[in-house]
Amino acid sequence: MAFKRIIAVLIVLNGQLVKSYGYNFHRPAGALPTALRELDTWALDEIMVLDISRRESIDPLVVRQIREACVYSPIIYGGGIRDISDIQTLLSAGCERFLLETLYLRSPETVKRISDLVGGQALILSVPLVSKVGQGLVLRSSSSNDSSSPLPLNEIAETIAASPASELLVIDAVAEGHGGAFCLTSFDDIELIEGSKGIIWFGGLNGDIAEGLLTRRSTVGVAFGNVCSEKELAILRVRRGIAQAVQQRYLRRLCL
């Protein structure tokens, strides 16, 4: 039986740790090494470091900070990965899994080569989605050089399914940073990618929404960002809330 994971997300912008709100507005959030070390004491399943600077390469400062933090929790790194040398640099810094976004659309063959090196289980595809009137769910552009129109989800669903990556990080890019605002599963389009790979949901989750998402067959994890810097042991509280909700549902079923 596959277990479902709770993941903390740390967002980095131009080398600084930030809290992000819909990728439009940002607040300072302290230093990455301190955050990593503190989250490492929370017994999390994974910690994701997501660089949203729209760089064409990985940020050496961020990589150095990850290396110096020296944490035990598995680290997923995303942002600016363009070739195998980036993967090798990140592996030596202690990262175990890699989030790819621009690369799987621009160069699927590079993704294949990376998969041959580290295995498909180490790769996650990032799918940040926004809802456009008349188009349904579309991919939010992550590259500063990309001035083309946003891609509808139905046009990239095949690319996603064919990729060797094992999981998807599906992001509600509008709700991101606004706890409780997540609403992607209310769109029919989302079924295009559910079932092809395991999904980690991110963007505007709270405890109740996470509990509902975890019951979906396609879900392998839920990820939380800003709340990790707002409350002491935030993920533990979420975990407890989910456990209590699951227990109550189980008891109700027994009574029926």
Partner: protein, 409 residues
């Protein structure tokens, strides 16, 4: 991250005086407004009566869990802390336990204010005095390691409050405000950010935890030295459900207004401070606006008067241009005689202290700040004081230990 001003000038906010140099980090929107100013706008926009109602519901839940004391309130000897006690005791109807950590450099006005809080609000108070010899060792280490003398106090003040909460099973700690939120807008007030170990290490302790101090081979600090300034473990916090809340998430926090209210209604004392116009802020500590503030400017390029002015600009009580003039004026103050008792206590010479300044990022601000105009003078006079200035109070009060430090130097 230390900003290197030699590379390029730091980006400044178009409204307040903060720049990218701020050690908490600063983000800017498209118009050039910093995240601190953006968050400050919430003070005018939110429905604070509704938010106070939320606070009342939150503390009511916590009140039911505790046996005698409903909450812990960390207390300092400034007028603002009268206001906190007033809110907690009289508006929220809680029975608080005040906790106070001796900074070893408490001013006489600070001691009087602490005594007055106990008297006026009839609250129990727990005070902690650490071993002054160990404390001095920690201050020396933090000066050498971080260029900062208040690290031991900041570590101890929070750690003491949390340790008392754990030991006495009092799950709620009430703080006035979260400094990074007030200064750089780290959180929205709607997010109701809470006290956390991460914030303590990151912002209060400059990313250096107590264990970092003792782990290095060249240090004289031992594990027993840092025992009383260590934060309790996660499993204890989780088991006891310890939460620290900030009143500023539920009230439009304004240090000046609240302090003046308490001076008028509760007899709180205020006094003139060197290096700033603010007669309410940090008047409980003889070193804050002296040695500490000079070191702060030397290391990060701005001093406490900038924090005070940014608050006043955001509340619309002064414009940016006048604030800049006032900032320049106070930053050049160097009260040499006022620094002497601390330097002597620490066991260093004046030349050694000047050496720290010379090899820091920004050194000592030498350029004279000029004179204040009528407008600026009127603004400065708007801050009330009813106690002799701190510069007249040059003897440190050492109580509870019966030691004469001269014998132990």
């Amino acid at each position: 991250m230390i900003f290197d001003s030699r590379l390029k000038p730091p980006r400044e906010c178009v409204h307040c005086l903060y720049s990218e140099r701020h050690p908490f980090g600063l983000q800017f929107d498209k118009s050039g407004l910093c995240s601190g100013c953006t968050t400050h706008k919430e003070k005018a926009a939110l429905d604070w009566s509704e938010r106070f109602h939320l606070l009342s519901k939150l503390v009511k839940k916590r009140k039911q869990r505790s046996k005698f004391y409903d909450c812990i309130v960390p207390v300092r000897g400034t007028p603002e802390y009268f206001y906190i006690m007033d809110v907690v005791k009289n508006r929220l109807g809680l029975n608080p336990l005040g906790v106070s950590y001796n900074s070893q450099f408490t001013s006489s006005v600070g001691i009087k204010n602490l005594a007055r809080i106990k008297e006026v609000f009839d609250v129990d108070m727990l005070s902690y005095n650490s071993n002054p010899l160990i404390y001095r060792k920690l201050v020396r280490e933090s000066l050498v390691r971080l260029g900062h003398i208040r690290w031991p106090y900041l570590a101890g003040e929070t750690a003491f409050a949390v340790r008392v909460a754990v030991e006495k099973n009092i799950p709620l700690i009430v703080w006035p405000y979260h400094q990074p939120t007030e200064q750089v807008g780290m959180h929205s007030y709607l997010e109701e950010a809470e006290m956390s170990r991460r914030s303590w290490i990151e912002h209060d302790l400059m990313r250096t935890s107590p264990s970092d101090f003792s782990l290095r081979s060249e240090t004289l600090i031992t594990l027993s030295d840092i025992e009383d300034i260590s934060y309790p473990e996660n499993k204890l916090l989780a088991r006891k459900g310890i939460t620290g809340i900030y009143l500023a998430n539920y009230m439009p926090w304004d240090t000046k207004t609240y302090s003046e209210e308490m001076i008028k209604s509760r007899g709180a004392l205020s006094a003139a401070n060197p290096r700033t116009f603010d007669t309410y802020d940090r008047i409980d500590d003889l070193t804050y606006m002296g040695v500490h503030d000079i070191l702060k400017y030397a290391n990060i390029g701005y001093s406490r008067v900038t924090d005070n002015l940014c608050r006043e600009i955001r509340f619309g009580r002064i414009d940016r241009h006048s604030a800049k003039i006032i900032e320049g004026y106070y930053q050049t103050h160097y009260p040499a005689d006022y620094l002497t008792p601390f330097i002597t206590w620490l066991g260093i010479t004046k030349e050694a202290f000047e050496w720290f300044l010379r090899f820091s990022n920004f050194g000592k601000k030498e350029v004279t700040g000029g004179i204040l105009s009528i407008v600026e003078n009127e603004f400065v006079r708007g801050f009330f004081s009813n106690h002799p200035p701190l510069t007249e109070d040059i003897k440190f009060t050492l109580y509870g230990k019966g030691l004469t430090l001269a014998e132990n130097l």
